[in-house]
């Protein structure tokens, strides 16, 4: 199983590679990727330096072109695909049907991975992308139970990559408009969710309130740790009960089921978090590397070590973790 790690910057890329990532994924500095945040991502010189660093360590570089090109800006996405091809990256990660066809026609030798944003959740969907566009790997949305992941892999004509650690999307990736409903900007169109420019913090009488474009996302009691107001992880009122109606702040962590994923035939495990610091990437990569090595050495005797889980929980959203949809009970 390959370990695929996030690189939001050149230092993060080096942190990932130096701590044992088999591949890193990154984006250009614009809306062509789903982490279009200020101060993040790569210019051409940085990518070239990143590729040199990765190749020297035997690691691969993938470029995420995983937003949906709007008609008026179509050429920005095709130009990004052309740049990726010229750079000779190991793969592009693409979601849009039109852009997939463009890549298949114009750059047939550049490997194409299907982004999680394309939300291919069944072998029938995967079959479509493999046949129509020669896609060679699919990243599965975080909506399937472990049993369903097994089923998909058993019938999939191509490699399957799953998320292993990081912030958890509750909604099917690529099919969530909550952010644009509130702020006008969504992952699909702008590469952002709950964008920072729409966030406002208010403090009164010891309590803190977080708002997204005016909508109250959460209220924190004095002393209560406050998190980033990702709108699906706020506390809301449903039938008179105030609760995390959609999901609480938490991170996905699959350490507990690595042997099952290995036996199911998962080709790669992906770490979310291009928006995270190089230090975060270094620590997460180190733990995942150790866990993957232990699991691949002897899956039957593998068990996640307490210190791995403790280290990852410290870095996790809300300092807690979940198997998410992989665990049927979560659903």
């Amino acid at each position: 199983m390959e370990l695929v790690c996030p690189a939001g910057s050149l230092p993060a890329l080096k942190a990932a590679v130096d701590n044992g990532a088999n591949a890193v994924y990154l984006g250009f500095r614009d809306a062509t990727n789903a982490r279009n945040f200020a101060g993040l991502n790569f210019g051409m010189d940085e990518i070239r330096a990143g590729i040199r660093h990765a190749r020297a360590a035997g690691a691969k570089v993938f470029i995420a072109l995983n937003t949906y090109p709007r008609e008026a800006h179509w050429s920005q996405w095709t130009a990004a695909a052309d740049r990726a091809a010229n750079l000779g990256v190991d793969a592009v990660i693409v979601a849009d049907l039109g852009l997939l066809r463009y890549c298949a026609r114009h750059h047939p030798h550049m490997r194409r991975h299907l982004s999680v944003q394309a939300s291919a959740t069944s072998h029938e969907a995967i079959d479509f992308y493999a046949r129509e566009f020669g896609v060679q790997r699919v990243v599965l949305p975080r909506v399937l139970s472990l049993q369903q992941v097994r089923q998909v892999i058993a019938h999939s004509p191509i490699e399957v990559e799953v998320f292993g650690f990081g912030s958890l999307c509750i909604m099917v990736e690529g099919r969530c408009f909550l952010s644009s409903y509130v702020t006008g900007e969504s992952p699909n169109t702008c590469g952002v969710c709950s964008p920072a420019k729409a966030v406002r913090w208010e403090e009164a009488a010891g309590t803190r309130r977080s708002r997204l474009n005016g909508v109250l996302i959460d209220v924190y009691a004095p002393g209560e740790p406050a998190g980033y107001p990702t709108l699906c992880k706020g506390r809301f009122d449903v039938a008179g009960e105030i609760n995390y109606a959609l999901e609480e702040p938490t991170s996905l962590n699959v350490l507990a089921i690595l042997p099952e994923l290995l036996r199911a035939g998962v080709a790669a495990v992906k770490v979310e978090g291009r928006q995270r610091s190089p230090a975060y990437v270094a620590q997460v990569t180190r733990v995942l590397r150790a866990a993957l090595d232990a699991c691949q050495r002897d899956p039957n005797r593998y068990a996640p070590r307490a210190e791995w889980t403790a280290q990852l929980d410290k870095l996790a959203e809300g300092r807690q973790h979940t198997l998410g949809a992989l665990d049927r009970a979560w659903q």
Binding site: L99, F236, A325
Partner: protein
């Protein structure tokens, strides 16, 4: 422009569904979308029941389209999808790539590319047309300007449909939020969504009606309404206007849109007549390139 009734997105009792379509047969709508798009566990009606309703509506002169699941997770759901795609009589609305795969295998089958497929550019539109799509439905978050750009690239013979009334489908999840609100696991949900024929309201802690929970689907809290934008929709060349069913007043909603379409009702007057049927407020922000929840009142 034609009027369509979108599929019922909520879990209504069998009798309520049958009654709804018995009435709809006499309403001035041209197209009716039938079937379950949200949750495969909702089986108040069997596939044959839907085909029977489809038959009566077709007999009443309606164009009937069978909708399909937007999120496919289980092998059994693929089976149901395959049966819908190969029903041999009615076209289907494809809401997932799995449906596209089955339709491309059944070459030449005309279908509708539903609102849950991501269509953001002309290349994608062209590709869907080549696969057999004769109509596409605008995804909820696209604006008037994005639609206009797409219309300029629209393949010949491809119809464009836009939802102009009803809560907006905003997100899908593996998790059932209705079951979660009742502290039940999804596998033992007790079909609680049956108690919410217009979805379960979700408000902020200061009482702002924010979203609507509908099982695994999250919808807008307020009702999208583009009746005042009919002149723009017409000018952009939209062919079909979709009304997404809610539990009450659908006949009146259809009536208002029909009169507005036939120029018997001015846009502002139409908007005023619909206001009472949108008790949780209205939104039209997406159309104007703003946050979807925004509301721009009619300008005259």
């Amino acid at each position: 422009m034609k009027l369509s009734l979108g599929p019922i997105l909520y879990f209504w009792e069998r009798e309520r569904v049958l009654d709804f379509y018995a009435q709809a047969a006499g309403w001035p709508v041209d197209i009716v979308y039938l079937g379950e798009a949200v949750c495969s566990k909702r089986r108040a009606l069997r596939p044959d029941d839907w085909l029977e309703i489809a038959g009566s509506l077709a007999h009443a002169g309606k164009e009937v389209v069978l909708t399909t699941l937007a999120l496919i997770e289980a092998e059994s759901e693929l089976g149901a999808l395959r049966r819908a795609v190969t029903n041999g009589r009615f076209p289907v609305e494809a809401n997932d790539t799995a449906a596209l795969n089955m339709l491309s295998a059944a070459q030449g089958t005309r279908f509708v590319a539903g609102p849950y497929l991501n269509v953001y550019n002309g290349e994608t539109l062209k590709l869907l047309h080549e696969l057999g799509a004769g109509r596409w439905v605008l995804p909820a978050e696209l604006s008037r300007d994005m639609l206009a750009a797409l219309q300029a690239r629209r393949p010949h013979g491809m119809e464009t449909e836009v939802q102009v009334f009803g809560r907006l489908p905003l997100a899908l999840s593996a998790r059932c939020f209705t079951a979660r609100a009742h502290h039940l696991p999804k596998d033992e949900c007790e079909f609680r969504c049956r108690d919410y024929p217009d979805g379960l309201p979700l408000a902020t802690r200061e009482g702002q009606r924010f979203l609507t929970i509908n099982g695994i689907q999250t919808q807008s809290g307020s009702t999208s309404c583009l009746v005042a934008e009919l002149p723009e929709l017409r000018a952009i060349g939209v062919d079909v206007l979709r009304l997404s069913p809610q539990a009450h007043s659908m006949h009146e909603v259809v009536q208002v849109f029909r009169e507005a379409l036939d120029d018997r009702l001015a846009p502002a007057a139409a908007e005023e007549r619909l206001a009472v049927h949108m008790p949780d407020g209205a939104c039209n922000g997406y159309w104007h390139g703003e946050p979807g929840m925004a509301w721009q009142p009619h300008a005259d």
